[in-house]
Symmetry: C2
Subunit: 181 residues, 2 copies
């Protein structure tokens, strides 16, 4: 898997500039694929030279021109080809889990500090969950009126919601465990 495919999906949902894509990666798409604006600009150029996207310069008065990208038929074929490949196993990187196991080699004070940090981390994810729930109400109020794309976006969002809920429950378990040591 590469960033290219996430960009193709995002541009098919809605064409836009590199900057707009970077915003979307911070919000929606970034829930399951993160990227900085540097990566996005670099990859967009390569994709254009490969003929997966094309662009047109849009002059704007008062601010720099922007370059609006949209997916070419070749880009769409490339995406469809990738969609039909098997899903690769994920590369998991869960820093908090490493720290929890590491806490066995720290002292009382270190474990107290970890509890404080877990509480902070939990509050962050509670806020994330609330953002998801607000977005769900706003964007998907009535399931029967959604088109295919929206139904698929909704089921992915439900995955994010389920993940955050699971995480909050687990963090409560972690806090209980740390406090009982």
């Amino acid at each position: 898997m590469a960033l290219e495919h996430a960009i193709l999906v995002s541009l098919l949902e809605q064409p836009g500039s590199g900057y707009e894509l970077a915003r979307r990666f911070e919000r929606s798409i970034g829930r399951f694929w993160t990227a900085t604006h540097q990566q996005i600009y670099r990859v967009l150029k390569r994709m254009e030279s490969d003929g997966w996207v094309d662009s047109q310069e849009i002059g704007q008065d008062g601010r720099p021109d922007k370059r609006a990208y949209s997916v070419t038929p070749l880009g769409r074929e490339t995406l469809v080809g990738w969609l039909r490949e098997p899903v690769q196993p994920e590369a998991v990187r869960h820093e908090l889990a490493v720290k929890i196991r590491g806490a066995a080699f720290d002292d009382e004070a270190g474990r107290t500090a970890l509890i404080t940090e877990v509480v902070r981390y939990r509050a962050e994810h509670e806020a994330t969950l609330n953002r998801y729930l607000t977005g769900e109400k706003r964007d998907f109020p009535d399931e029967t009126e959604l088109d295919t794309g929206q139904r698929l976006q909704h089921v992915v969002l439900r995955g994010g919601i389920a993940y955050e809920r699971m995480l909050l429950d687990w963090l409560d378990d972690v806090l209980d465990t740390l406090r009982q040591l």
Copy 2:
């Protein structure tokens, strides 16, 4: 966060060679931090030159010598320092979510292929959950008799179990959604 810290935790739990670490990353530690043998060898060398670990050559007849690493006091201090830093936000990379949203731009045949792939993916994660549950019974049969390190390992494993259960439920939701399109 860097690979270094995961290696320090693993070597503190049990000293070993680069190869053994690579095995562990495939099994236990790899549940929340993946690494290949190449990364591990490279990082171990840097860690040794920084004085975080030391090693001794162990001659073995019939097969290549192995180099057994263990954590130095400096390495342990380094780990403790890192443990007390705030947890960084995770870089999420969830390929399947991208493919599901991408399915809006594929045809009937593509969505059928995706259903097949999700079923395969689900079976993989069901197997993972069963491995975790078997390991839990084997390694943590009686919570009251566990030491601090084991309790912490157990709560991390419970996180893995909760994640896999959440994922299976969500994949059922995904399958329902795809089949109703």
